[in-house]
């Protein structure tokens, strides 16, 4: 059995994949991977079609004024073959892409359990966040590195869409419905939030940012804001820009 080592390696890979189930899968990384895969797929198709067309155009250019095309009619078998075979090729590719797309979709739609959950209300033209302890911020979403963040979103006026290009995610927020998205910030840094649904005159100025800070720094800020809330006039206080 010369194949043994390969089989063993395959099993080992599967076993480690099973163990990895409780590791958080980052949707943004998954997006980059699938995007690359799909680009390769469509480039192959595109180049194949373009080359065939270019070849025909050159090879069958008209050489004499009264020349006509010479292609005959297809036999019934050829006509059916030329229909059924491309159909199966396309369908195979479609189902392959659908399967990959669906898998990534599950990552996007199944937020991990250890997440921090923040409420978002959008309005013309600001992003208003409310943390679990009642702290509120506007246009600045401060989150700890290494923890999945889930936004539960609604809108008080028109439809907006909370788009964070760096995390490869957006979802609309709208009146009368609650939607959600989650992302996985792993390193401290700042990321732009921008509105991706036409919501009114100042749509293109509806910006904010996600500020990812080290866990300790976040906790300090979070507790300090909470104390301010408790000590303040009882009115939620807005922090940030």
């Amino acid at each position: 059995m010369r194949n043994r080592p390969i089989v063993a390696a395959a099993f080992a890979a599967m076993a480690s994949a099973a163990h990895a189930a409780d590791v958080i899968r980052d949707p943004a990384a998954g997006w980059d991977y699938l995007w690359y895969e799909v680009l390769v797929d469509i480039s192959i198709l595109g180049i194949a079609f373009a080359l065939i067309t270019a070849f025909f155009v050159i090879r069958y250019r008209r050489r004499a004024e009264n020349e006509v095309g010479k292609a005959g009619r297809l036999t019934a078998a050829a006509a059916v073959g030329w229909t059924v075979i491309p159909m199966f090729v396309f369908m195979a590719d479609d189902f392959f892409l659908a399967a990959n797309g669906w898998q990534l979709w599950n990552t996007y739609r199944q937020p991990p359990a250890n997440r921090i959950e923040i409420k978002l209300e959008s309005g013309m033209y600001s992003w208003d966040y409310t943390y679990p302890n009642g702290v509120q911020t506007q246009n600045v979403l401060k989150v700890p590195a290494g923890k999945p963040v889930l936004l539960r979103m609604t809108s008080r006026d028109t439809i907006h869409s909370h788009f964070i290009p760096d995390f490869r995610v957006k979802e609309d927020s709208m009146p009368g419905r609650v939607t959600y998205l989650w992302f996985y910030p792993q390193k401290p840094g700042e990321h732009i939030v921008t509105c991706a649904e036409y919501c009114g005159i100042m749509h293109s100025y509806m910006i904010g940012k996600v500020v990812v800070v080290p866990e300790a720094e976040f906790t300090a800020w979070y507790e300090q804001e909470e104390r301010k809330l408790a000590g303040g006039a009882g009115q939620p206080k807005k922090a940030g820009a």
Partner: protein
Amino acid sequence: MGTLKEWIFTTDHKRVGVLYLIGSLAAFAVAGIMALLMRWELTTIGPTLTANPTTYNVWLYAHGAVMILGFQIPALTGFFANYCIPLMIGAKDVAFPRLNAFSVWLFYVGIILAILTFFIPDSPDIMWTAYPPYSTITSGNTALYTFTVLILGFASILGGVNFLTTVAYMRAPGMTWNKLNIFVWCTLAAFVLQLIFVPVLGTAVTLISFDKYLGTGFFDPAKGGDVLIYQNLFWFYSHPAVYVIFLPFIGVVYEIVATFARNRVFNYKMVVYGGIFGIVGLSGVVWVHHLYVTGMADWIRIGQMVTTLLISVPVGFTVIGLVGTLYKGSISFETPMLYALGVLFLFLIGGLTGIPLAITSLTLHLSDTYYVVGHFHYVMAVAGTFSIFGGVYYWFPKITGRMYSEAIGKLGFWITFAGTNIVFWIMMDIGVKGMPRRYYDYAHFPQFENAHQWMTGGAALIGLGFALAVLNWIVGAIRGAKAPDNPWGSQSLEWSTQTPPPPGNWKDVPTIREEWDPYAYARP
């Protein structure tokens, strides 16, 4: 030429067609100028041409609505259908000539309404999609949008009734269904879609005006409505609407390619019964791909990801049929053929870049970015326009009885083709990097300023190329050399009558021989 009065009160399908052409080209000019203004505005960060975002938003509204409803649909299902279908099936006219004349009047009312946008103080700023709640709370004039859509939709339904009847009952003796031109099949399919789906759009746009002006709450959650119902209704029509554009434009391309390759259409039955019928069959079950980021239920987002991907099968048939038509042909490269090959190229890029947009999870990043705008200009907007321009060039000798300038034609093509790829390739690129659509300004994306400048330059090239083409037609129609009856050596029936065709089209209604079909070139 006839007097102006004769033209206005004409019931001749060819003249009705030409009226459609003139109106839709005027609409194209207006909407094209809007595109140039938008591109100009986006040349620099901050205000460039106007300091008022609403002005930009009105341009964008007018650009989208007029391009689709006032230019592409009327040019394809108004002009080409009217001019070509009776000639292609060997009929003397359409089944209901007066209804036909009425539909072109309605069309003119529709584009006049659309152009009123620029003359009223409260111009609509709701985008051609008019999503509530914004469309029901804006101070822009939503009713103008509603009436424009209703009138143009009504004109199109009249056309649909007319042409389905015409093709069903007025084919020349011996013209069997399997001898119909691909263009005729494509247009019939497009009209079937219009008849089924336009009423849904009519409902949707009527209800937003009810909500706004009569205080109903169909789309207002505070009154028990739901904002997403509108989006579902709208796209239930507007996705099929892209096939109302796609089908006739690919039909025009088939006619051009078969004629300039002097060749049979590859696997005709696959193209018709697999490609065209397949597209009609799937068109009503893919609209949710426009709602991937709206929080619709997961099962329907996944379900319609699969149906959307499967569209590649019938669309693939139409592309294979087109490429196969070149095989063993005798290809020459006059202006119409350049445009047709241009469509093939643009459509290939546009179609393939649509595949990521079918995949729900990838759309979470791509939706509502410039990637989408780049993609649909490739696949529909510019590909469709190239097909319309190619088609006008192709039938120009038949329509006017004169020839255009081949040199100017080719020059115009190459200029537009270059501009198109500059603009829309860059658009897709910055879209993937995060540039959102419908932005008057991009102050927080300064890294894209350079790309925006390239796009503005490219757009100027596009405008220049199209202007050359229109100029070429005007000069050609007035002073071009006299055209023979069949300058391209085509087999298709419309070339067999005299140039230009007389009222009633034929001296004797043609009888179709058993061995003839519009693509029978090879001599056995």
